[in-house]
Assembly symmetry: C2
Homo-oligomer: 194 residues x 2
DNA sequence: CATTTATGCAAGTAATTGCTTACAAAAATA
DNA sequence: TATTTTTGTAAGCAATTACTTGCATAAATG
């Protein structure tokens, strides 16, 4: 089984899961979507579950945000939070959010839960670190770093999940616009007034 | 079929869907959970799908927030937003969030989508109305009401969904604590400085 | 008490699903 | 060209699932 075949299967699987959920995505669906015979799937992977586990483990599909990102900071609240949020949205797209939702199936959820948590957890850790430093620099009016991180995370996570769930019917903003303007509010809320 | 039986079936169905999703919740599961024979289910409802539709339509499980809630406002930003958020969290619990996620199955999603959107949509509408009035009263530094509403909604929606998805492993706050303190930040961000 | 109604029980059906087997056709490799 | 590896095809199996049927029992209702 060539690597390109394996990849096609993985990509198709994730696509279908994001649309229909894990349980409703059948191996026949996957085969059709990948333009491959169903048997080929089981020659590449031991089971349907294995496709997902492979995607999460080997492909590092959901790798968390690295703290190295902090090196990019200019230590200006607005500028930095915008950069961090953009990085988050770049990584945690609407599609990935749908995959996360789609993997909420008992046959697989316990095994993938840890992976699914990585993105929000990684972002949260980076934010806590960032806010700690900013507080030491005297730029913040609040020293509950976990609260700050979590508020900012909820704001962004909530936005993506709502968009993934209800799409444009509920949301009149582009990602960029929402991020930029909600950050302005947030910054006003936490910046030390001089 | 007595009403109490019907109710037991509905409650069990929703509970199981919140845990395992629609597709993975079998009619046998439901029967067992409800302490009822599987056949009884099909005597009360025409199909599995009908149970959910009945729950959403007849039980008004997900009824949106009413604009009458605005009558409770004291027209103090912090106090009002706290009240509105509490009302939202009272209505849109972790369990309901799980049901929303669990209903993301192709056999049923299109038919329930509209209902699932009601809660966030209703909350958003109320918020827009509220912010409009507060702006007229000269209490806000921002007149993009949809942005304000949506930021606040994302914050609360994101929090509940994260809690529903990852539970306490990621989140160290109680609902009350998070709501209270995140609102303080938000209010600082949008209140007109006098 | 007589009759209707609601429920349980046992069995089963047709469709779907994850996965397997056996064999032939390509396609890559030597 | 000869051989090995990869893929397609066809068929099917065992388990599961939504839903049905027929009949017995109990409970409510007249």
């Amino acid at each position: 089984m060539g690597d390109s075949v394996k990849e096609k299967i993985v990509v198709s699987t994730l696509k279908l899961i994001s649309e229909k959920g894990y349980r409703s995505t059948t191996t026949r669906n996957i085969a059709e979507e990948a333009g491959v015979n169903e048997v080929t799937i089981f020659r590449c992977f031991r089971s349907k579950k294995d496709i997902v586990l492979y995607a999460l483990k080997e492909l590092e599909l959901l790798k968390p945000m690295d703290k190295k990102i902090l090196e990019k900071c200019k230590w200006d609240l607005k500028e930095d939070l915008l950069m961090l949020a953009e990085e988050y949205h770049k990584n945690f797209t609407e599609d990935k959010a749908k995959i996360m939702i789609g993997l909420r199936s008992p046959e697989i959820f316990e095994e993938v839960k840890e992976y699914l948590m990585r993105i929000p957890k990684g972002f949260k850790d980076v934010l806590i670190e960032y806010f700690k430093i900013m507080y030491q620099k005297g730029m913040l009016n609040n020293d509950d770093f976990e609260l700050l991180a979590f508020s900012f995370l909820s704001l962004n996570f909530g936005f993506i999940l709502m968009k993934a769930s209800y799409g444009r019917k509920l949301i009149g903003f582009s990602n960029d616009e929402f991020v930029r303007r909600s950050i302005e509010i947030f910054v006003k809320g936490i910046a030390k007034s001089s």
